[in-house]
């Protein structure tokens, strides 16, 4: 009996769930159910990341994508709460546009996927299942990389030089982007806020 490759088994399982739920998002007509399927699909992708030993990326996927979709779900609930379970109607033109855009992306992705030579695929080492024995030090290396340390060359000699000759790091761009996003968020909240008249009477007395 040949050994069952559990890594492949779980990869196929998570991939199948992700793909099936992504298809369900398209097929379903109910906004909240769509959001639910989307969350399951994204969660399955997070499972793929965990399976690949990228635990930090998996947690990011859960935090950012699944959490973000949750907000989408809340909006879906709020928008459709007027009537019970309103379904969305998609017109024919929208279908055509969606198929063209999606098909183009799929074609590019497929070509990229098949253009990777078999030599570039990771070689399977005997009796060492990849996820089970992967070194658990992803976060530290990611943090060092953010600061501009060439983590991939830490093992070599002359570490001090490597620390300096490396890139300037992603910390500053990262901070600029985060502050930018924060500004956008606060601006959106300010714009969406209900306008109140300044000259009295606009405010109700709250008991």
């Amino acid at each position: 009996m040949e050994t069952i490759n559990w890594h492949s088994f779980f990869f196929l399982l998570f991939a199948a769930v992700a793909a099936a739920m992504a298809a369900a998002v398209v097929v379903s007509g109910n906004i909240v159910r769509m959001a639910f399927y989307l969350v399951v699909s994204l969660g399955a992708v997070a499972g793929l990341f965990f399976l690949a030993g990228a635990d930090f990326l998996g947690a990011v996927q859960l935090m950012v994508y699944v959490g973000g979709t949750m907000v989408l779900l809340v909006f879906g609930v709020m928008l459709t709460a007027r009537g019970p379970f309103i379904s969305m109607q998609t017109g024919g033109g929208q279908w055509v546009m969606a198929v063209v855009v999606g098909g183009a992306l799929l074609a590019v992705l497929l070509q990229t996927a098949f253009s990777v030579g078999s030599s570039a695929r990771p070689r399977q080492v005997e009796h060492t299942p990849p996820a089970a024995t992967a070194p658990a030090s992803t976060t530290t290396r990611l943090g060092l990389g953010l600061l501009g340390v060439r983590v991939d060359r830490l093992a070599e000699d002359g570490q001090d030089e490597i620390l300096q000759q490396g890139m300037s790091g992603y910390l500053l761009p990262f901070e600029i982007v985060s502050v930018h996003l924060l500004v956008v968020l606060i601006g959106a909240a300010f714009l969406a806020r209900a306008k109140r008249k300044a000259e009295g009477g606009g405010r109700r007395a709250e008991g």
Partner: protein, 387 residues
């Protein structure tokens, strides 16, 4: 553990070792989560009774009503399972399991003693926060799918509350992580070994305040009173759980109590020394893996008792709060979060950062070389250290 088991198996049966290891881990954790929930429910009944000058359960299973949780469980299993006609049946059925999976998934990253974690990995704290945040998802779905106004109100309140409180909670969690210099929960726990003055809650004044901000946010995060607006009994019948009965209701409840235990566990590890007692008794007794594997095992066992005691102390504190404080209004909940918790957490973050910069070795009675601080590279030989 899988590596240990696979020594005794033929190469072609290696997979069996992994299956057995994962089954043991999951079984232990599930027992832990469910037992914690059952004991918390008993505790809730007894503590609330004492606070209200009653006795609580006294007859079911002996003097203290020990068997009350199983009796409750049997009663709830026998109840009629109702799905409202207006409900979205698929989502209505799925929602409780999502909540429970999120509450239970958190336990994967929670270490119970030095190295006794189902998954010991570098980004455990981040994983904990990410998975704990998913619990709200089941609540929103359940509230929406019930097809009832009360449920929907509860769900929207839950969404507003939990998503807001995640921000200050994450800020509070970052502070011990910054002091420890790692997100590995086992390493964070080991760094607080020794006397209780090594606990991060006593590290500096800022972490002490942070701990209480964390407690506030954690109580809000698991929807306990005074932040139990999603299930406010006096306003919304039972909030998002209005239409649930029988077993699905039990699952929601289990999820809530398991989340309480998990959040207390995170507080215990990040601020209260984890499995390290207030007095380094295990160090004096020489219960360490450096001495003998069996001694290390005993030390870990004591540490686990310590940790579970701290978790239940946290749960008891939440119960005490629930039966003492009145419920907040939704605007007060939001004010507490946005105007007090977030600025406070941010200020404490800044202060703790400056403190660590100014006094890298700590100030208050902090032993320079904690007894087991160097134990990070000494993995316990076999037991439960499996990744």
């Amino acid at each position: 553990m899988a590596e240990y088991l696979s020594q005794y198996l033929n190469p072609q049966w290696q997979w069996l070792a992994y299956v057995a290891a994962s089954l043991v881990h999951v079984g232990l954790l599930l027992t832990m989560a469910l037992a914690a929930a059952a004991i918390s429910i008993w505790l809730e009944r007894k503590v609330s009774a004492r606070i209200q000058d009653r006795l609580g359960p006294t007859r079911v299973g002996g003097r203290f009503g020990w068997l009350q949780p199983p009796a409750d469980g049997i009663k709830l299993l026998c109840k009629e399972d109702i799905i409202p006609t207006a409900a979205d049946r698929l989502l209505f059925r799925t929602a409780p399991y999502i909540s429970f999976c999120a509450a239970f998934g958190v336990f994967l990253a929670l270490p119970f003693a030095d190295g006794w974690a189902a998954l010991q990995f570098d980004s455990a704290v981040f994983f904990f926060l990410a998975v704990a945040g998913l619990e709200v998802f089941g609540v929103i779905l359940g509230g929406y799918a019930s097809g009832s106004k009360y449920s929907l109100y509860g769900a929207i309140r839950e969404a507003a509350q939990v998503i807001s409180y995640e921000v200050p909670m994450a800020l509070c969690v970052v502070i011990p992580v910054m002091i420890a210099g790692t997100m590995d929960l086992v390493a964070i726990g080991n760094q607080q070994a020794g006397w209780f003055t090594n606990w991060y809650v006593f590290h500096d004044p800022f972490t002490f305040v942070t701990f209480w901000v964390y407690v506030t946010c954690a109580v809000a995060h698991v929807n306990r009173a005074p932040f139990d607006l999603p299930e406010a009994e006096s306003e919304l019948v039972a909030g998002f759980m209005t239409e649930y009965s029988g077993f699905r209701w039990v699952i929601f409840f289990m999820a809530e109590y398991a989340a309480m235990f998990a959040v207390s566990g995170l507080a215990a590890i990040l601020f209260l020394g984890g499995w390290n007692g207030p007095i380094p008794v295990t160090h004096w007794l020489g219960l360490s893996y450096n001495v003998h594997p069996l001694a290390g095992y005993l030390g870990n066992l004591l540490g686990m008792c310590n940790f579970i005691f701290k978790c239940f102390a946290g749960v008891t504190f939440m119960i005490w709060l629930r039966w003492t404080l009145p419920r907040l209004r939704i605007d007060q909940v939001m004010t507490t979060c946005l105007k007090y918790c977030i600025p406070l957490a941010a200020a404490m973050f800044l202060g703790a950062m400056l403190w660590v910069y100014a006094f890298p070795d700590g100030v208050i009675l902090r032993e320079k070389s904690a007894p087991r601080a160097a134990a990070g590279n000494l993995q316990p030989p076999v037991a439960l250290s499996g990744r």
